[in-house]
Subunit: 204 residues, 4 copies
DNA sequence: CATGAATGAGTGTTCATTCAT
DNA sequence: CATGAATGAACACTCATTCAT
């Protein structure tokens, strides 16, 4: 009985995760049965349990995957000349362009995190990782003179974090609003009053 | 003639709602059975269904109740001399003082809102009501000269909404942080750079 | 505490029975809740139980009432010059004119009779009473020379009973057929071959 | 690959149907819980729902099965030299020999048919199928000269159908009568007056 | 006599999970 | 490795009946 080759195992895991995400987004975590995920993934229940030990493990897996995705997205921010612009773009992507169903998943994950320490851990770690990276990037940019902080740097960063999460949150509960315009408006204000960029930015 | 008097009916409804809130906060919406709520409320299933027609009606009732609570809380903000201070205090109350379990309920409600139009409607209405009231209060204060906006008023208000929700969100997913300090820091920045108050404020 | 006057008691009972019949016919015995009957009758559950001790008692009451109704209907047959014609008319009335829902009730009653001896007893008694009456009427008519039996009288009567019940049955399970025509056809055959009438009958 | 083979699936279905029939006959359709059927069949609820999607599907399955049974029974009638004799025998079998509980099921099915179109459809189809077959058989026999109709053929056939159903009905509500004798008596009359057979029949 | 709020056992059905093949 | 039939505890909800007022 040769163990599943790590590559194949990972490929399968990802395929199942994608099926699960589609199903969860469509019907919610509790509205989706394991059978439904199996159907979506084209496998049998027995096989699913070969790759994930339980239903919550799928949520955990989804979190984990999102963590990687955000990490990749942040890479672009890190190396961008216009850091605020890159953050703005990233926010617009997740708040306006990605389908609403995907955003809605955050409720399911959040709810699960209250009950499941594994999920909570991943959530906190993802947030901490993300925050640290953004913070470092901004601090470095300020040190480099690419950004100028108008006020206590720590406070500006704290405000930035809350702002980003708040925008995501509002886009999720009020998708009918013109969130893209709201984001643009807020970032203009940010640049004017709190964190101006010294590099040329292409105003879109 | 033991007809349920309106008062008694309302008292009962509230008692059941409180029991449901405790149970939901403890075990989640889907993790809580109607039987468990009955046990918590000290009534039988049949009786519960006399007051609420379904499980989601309990969530809807909880939303409705929160809406009233927020409305009352906002009354204090409206009449406050120091509007930003009142908002800050309100935020600290809900983000730091109220028990974490209560905040966590927002995930359950949000998740339910994705599936249940009634819940979604209440959520949107509550947000719209709250937003409009805060907005009016700020606009009036600016017109009165009690607040001075450093930048486009609309943008500042948009930022304020996102900020408020973001702070609540972050307090919910990162309760271990010193959120009170973060809020204070952010509000100080706000007052300095975006929305200064012309009345004496007692800096806490 | 004066006992309900017998008259008032009976009036009430009949009103409730009618409400129950409407509800049973609409939704079936098991599909009708006591609450629904109360609503239909405009009384409270407590009051209903003052007049009928249980739900099956309502079915029993309905049987009892039907027994009286049939007895009355038979009175017309007894005194009719054209006995076969009167039976035919009665059959057409119950099989074609009365609403289908009322006929459908017989299934509910029959099912209940299998479980409830009281209901079974009433059902058997009603059938026995009816059969005896028809039988006597026919025997008397034959003795009087108003009817002529072409064959063993006992066999003809047995066939008549089965025929009547069978027509009712078929009208109930196949209401879409032209049961009136079928009845007319059968009775014509009856008169021609088995039980001719010596009085003028208006052939319809 | 423990995929349910079609044979095994059908065997299981029949076993469950038999368990359901026993339970329904004992306690009635509404008096029988799915748990009770499971107990009777020696399986778990989950398994039952693997074979039948709902409780009414069991009734529908029972109808379907009866339809097949009747079809088979009719095959014997079709090829019989003495058609009336074969029908008489069949009637005696179902009205007198089969256990009363099985006959009683017709009430449950009939009641269900009033509420459930699927059941109603099967009931009507079964009756139509049966009627058409009997009718064809008789018409052919008359054409062949094996039967002689004393009267309008259509009327005789209509009477025959009503008679058959009426006999079944009466045997169900009055099982204490000597229904075998009644059937014999009626069929003798039939042969004498309405539909004589030209082949030798062994009078039982 | 009449009420209707309260009851709680019971319902049909689902679904995460297991394990023999 | 993969299967999918089997499981059975759990669920939201109903309703015939009672009894304090």
């Amino acid at each position: 009985m040769p163990k599943l080759s790590p590559l194949r195992l990972e490929t399968r895991r990802q395929a199942i995760l994608e099926a699960a995400e589609r199903a969860f987004a469509r019907d919610g975590f509790h509205g989706t049965s394991m059978q439904a995920i199996c159907r979506e993934a084209g496998i049998s229940p027995g096989t699913l349990y070969l790759y994930f030990p339980s239903k919550v493990a799928l949520i955990a897996g989804l979190c984990e995957r999102d963590r990687h995705e955000i990490r990749d997205a942040l890479t672009h921010v890190e190396v961008a000349a216009d850091i605020l612009g890159a953050l703005e773009e990233m926010l617009i992507h997740y708040a306006c362009i990605e389908p609403q169903e995907r955003r809605a998943l955050i409720f399911e994950i959040g709810a699960e995190a209250q009950r499941n320490p594994d999920v909570a851990k991943i959530m906190v770690e993802t947030d901490a990782f993300f925050s640290a990276l953004v913070r470092d990037t901004i601090l470095k940019a300020i040190a480099d003179g690419r950004l100028i902080a108008h006020g206590t740097v720590e406070a500006i960063i704290a405000l930035l974090f809350a702002l980003g999460d708040g925008i995501m949150w509002r886009a999720t509960i009020r998708p009918e609003l013109d969130n893209r315009a709201i984001i643009t408006q807020i970032f203009k204000l940010l640049r004017d009053k709190l964190l101006s960029s010294t590099v040329d930015t292409n105003v879109s």
